[in-house]
């Protein structure tokens, strides 16, 4: 049972790694700043479970609160989108 648990954890972490790769590729490919920021959200969602899986929960809390802060800073430069 212990091995099964580790195996499912590994498969789930592979899925989150795929999530991070998808987010990074999408961020590079997109051209509109808003779409790039949404793709950056996918990248963040793929990276945070790796921090949690190491057991560094305090770091995960800090990073999960700081990541939207920098997104809001970047949004200060973006004008409004086309309606």
């Amino acid at each position: 049972m212990q091995e099964g648990w580790i195996a499912v954890n590994n498969i789930a972490l592979m899925a989150f790694g795929a999530l991070a790769i998808i987010g990074a590729l999408l961020t590079i490919v997109e051209r509109d700043p808003f779409r790039k920021l949404i793709s950056l959200g996918i990248l963040v969602g793929g990276s945070v479970p790796f921090i949690v899986d190491r057991g560094l929960l305090d770091v995960a809390i800090a990073v999960a609160l700081i990541a939207p802060l920098s997104t809001i800073f970047i949004l200060m430069v973006c004008g409004r989108g086309d309606q």
Binding site: G4, V8, L37, I38, I42, V44, G45, V48, L57, G81
Partner: protein, 85 residues
């Protein structure tokens, strides 16, 4: 297969599905509900990966942060910065 493993597998599969739907959606603001599904799945799997009291706070912090990000993106896209600036 224990309940935790089944739940973690479901969360991981739904997260990847939501990311693919975000990639394929042409309208910018209609990407945000799919991003919300992704953050639900990630917040659930944060709590499922490590059953520790602090991981409730981690899941809530991730979820609130992601919601705040979606809110700021939608407000800025819809028309100017809101009063948070």
């Amino acid at each position: 297969m224990t309940p935790q493993e089944a739940a973690l597998a479901v969360c991981a599969v739904i997260a990847v599905y939501a990311a693919i739907r975000v990639a394929l959606e042409p309208d910018t603001l209609r990407k945000l509900p799919f991003l919300n599904v992704l953050s639900f799945a990630v917040a659930g799997s944060i709590a499922l990966l490590i059953p520790h009291p602090l991981s409730i706070v981690a899941a809530a912090a991730y979820f609130v942060g992601s919601t705040l990000e979606s809110n700021a993106i939608a407000s800025t896209y819809a028309g100017g910065l809101d009063r948070r600036e």
